[in-house]
């Protein structure tokens, strides 16, 4: 259906999914540059990114697993106040918690939103990177299989070996 006919149809029976697809096409049309000019690749990329960036439990990421083995890496805004020094240590912790912690907390709250934005971006980049690595691994395995199959085909079967 062409655009005027669609718009006419929606005046009586609007379909949100159809309108959103129509708007997405309009947005994409404005963005067309380089490789993204290819409609198929652009659509694939959109679907792929949506899937990759969809919320997943943190422990599902392989890269995070490897990062965790090197120590804590997630954003940590909560200062860990503990001591192994007995009573004097407890006094210091008390001073830190009751006197130093409140102004520190205030400063943290001022940067918290930006910190979480950066954390989300880091997590998203990790997921994209991980999926790219997985995809690359799959492609390599597929290419290797195809190359083996190609090599097998080019070697003549024993009964087809020409007589000397």
């Amino acid at each position: 259906m062409d655009e005027p006919a669609l718009l006419d149809k929606w005046k009586t029976a609007p379909r949100v999914d159809d309108i959103m697809r129509y708007l997405q096409k309009r947005i994409d049309a404005r963005r067309r540059t380089g490789i993204l000019f290819d409609d198929e690749i652009r659509t694939e990329l959109g679907v792929w990114l949506t899937e990759v960036l969809a919320d997943r439990p943190a422990d599902e990421s392989t890269l995070q697993h490897y990062l965790d083995t090197l120590g804590e890496w997630r954003l940590q805004l909560h200062p860990h106040l503990a001591t192994h020094r007995g009573l004097p240590g407890k006094v210091f912790v008390w001073i830190k918690k009751r006197i130093l912690y409140p102004p520190l907390r205030w400063i943290v709250e001022q940067v918290e939103v930006n910190a979480w934005r950066q954390d989300r971006l880091n997590l998203s980049l990790l997921r994209v990177l991980e999926e790219t690595v997985i995809e690359n691994g799959r492609l390599k395995a597929r290419v290797a299989r195809l190359e083996r199959a190609e090599a097998d085909r080019s070697v003549p079967a024993p009964d087809e070996t020409p007589a000397p």
Partner: protein, 392 residues
């Protein structure tokens, strides 16, 4: 049937959120059953500061029994325990229960009353899983309880203590399919029998949109936001998007905001703040607007979006919120955005195509009328109670 609603705050002045949902359902249910509300004396939702006297009173025909809170919410302590439970892997179930206690409003007298009068009620309907009265109260009377979790996709729902808690009530009432899905995913095992009730909207009589515009000096077409003006509601993002949209001068449109202010509002000729509106004025604002915008990323149900559809107005909502996205798609009542490009494209489309915008509003209204009436909603609750609670 004698029904007790248990909720952290209850007052006629609260016109949004789970408290409003609870009050309206209690008021409507009072026409069928003997309804009582067990709540606290808290008024302020941040500190739980007292605003009401303890004891018995009647609000719109419903008996309300208020219990003293033990202490106001200690915000420093709450932040500390939140940091521990949400960001430290090495925390215990006791820490999480301590989080619920710190979240408050802590009312041991209310828990004692539930313990002592368990036999006096046929069913207890608990609102909002994250608050002290519902969490600890439900555990006292699990076999005759219905939970209305009002869960959103935030960190609290993933705390480990709630995975078991969600399986404890005899039944559960959800506001949307997305909420049911979320709770189903975090709960251990199979959820108890449940239903999705949503909400029914009542439009006050005698609305005067023209008078409202004159009273508030609104001479331009406007995009309306109603609700708490808060970063958690996505308002900072809305301000950034709207000001950038306005800089491009595509359409002559203002942004009008109504609700309690918890965030600085940009000082800009196109952005107007009306303050807190009465229920009637809220509907007049909706009637006067071109469309409603809802930028909130976390909602278990947006009542104001339903109210916009009831007024035949299209909506533009945050598509990153599964509930808002799902509601928009099911009703065909409005569009959604996940980024600035989609915000601009959606807004341009709605402003350039008046007839489609109106058709979306009508579609939302028809969907609301077909799915959410008080009779239907109360029948669903009665049916769930009948299926799940053994009555003496």
């Amino acid at each position: 049937m004698k029904v007790a609603f248990v909720i952290h705050r209850y007052a006629e002045s609260i016109v949004g959120g789970s408290e409003f949902h609870c009050r309206r359902i209690a008021e409507e249910m009072a026409s069928r059953h003997d309804v009582e509300v067990l709540t606290t004396t808290a008024e302020d939702y941040v500190t739980w500061k007292d605003g009401f006297a303890p004891g018995l009173e009647t609000i719109n025909g419903v008996k309300v029994r208020r219990f003293r809170i033990k202490a106001r919410r200690n915000l420093v302590r709450f932040k500390e325990i939140s940091d521990l439970c949400f960001y430290e892997k090495a925390h215990t179930a006791d820490d999480e229960r301590e989080w619920v206690r710190a979240n408050g409003p802590e009312t041991p007298e209310l828990l004692q009353f539930i313990r002592d009068h368990k036999a006096d009620y046929d069913v207890f309907i608990f609102y909002s899983f994250r608050y002290y009265p519902s969490y600890f109260g439900l555990l006292e009377v699990a076999e005759k309880s219905i939970l209305v979790p009002t869960a959103e996709e935030d960190a609290a729902v993933h705390l480990s203590i709630f995975a078991d808690y969600f399986n404890r009530p005899a039944g559960a009432l959800f506001l949307t399919p997305e909420e049911q899905d979320l709770v189903g995913k975090v709960a251990h095992g199979v959820l108890p029998p449940s239903d999705i009730i949503g909400f029914a909207v009542d439009i006050p009589p005698g609305l005067d949109a023209a008078g409202f515009r004159i009273r508030h000096g609104l001479s331009h077409p406007f995009l309306l936001y109603v609700g708490r003006i808060d970063r958690n509601k996505g308002c900072d993002g809305l301000f950034r998007y709207f000001l950038e949209y306005d800089r491009r001068k595509t359409h002559d449109i203002d942004l009008v905001l109504a609700g309690t202010k918890a965030l600085d509002i940009p000082n800009h000729t196109r952005v107007k703040y009306l303050g807190f509106l009465t229920d009637k004025e809220k509907f007049e604002a909706l009637q006067s607007s071109e469309l409603l915008v809802m930028p909130s990323p976390y909602e278990s149900l947006s009542i104001v979006v339903l109210e916009a559809w009831a007024m035949g107005k299209a909506t533009l909502v945050n598509g990153l919120c599964k509930v808002l996205r799902g509601q928009s798609r099911r009703s065909n009542g409005g569009l959604f955005f996940s980024n600035f490009s989609e915000f601009c494209a959606g807004l341009d489309f709605l402003l350039e195509n008046r007839e489609i915008r109106e058709a979306l509003g009508r579609s939302g209204r028809d969907w609301l009328a077909a799915n959410f009436s008080w009779t239907r909603l109360l029948d669903k609750i009665d049916d769930l109670v009948g299926r799940t609670i053994k009555r003496s």
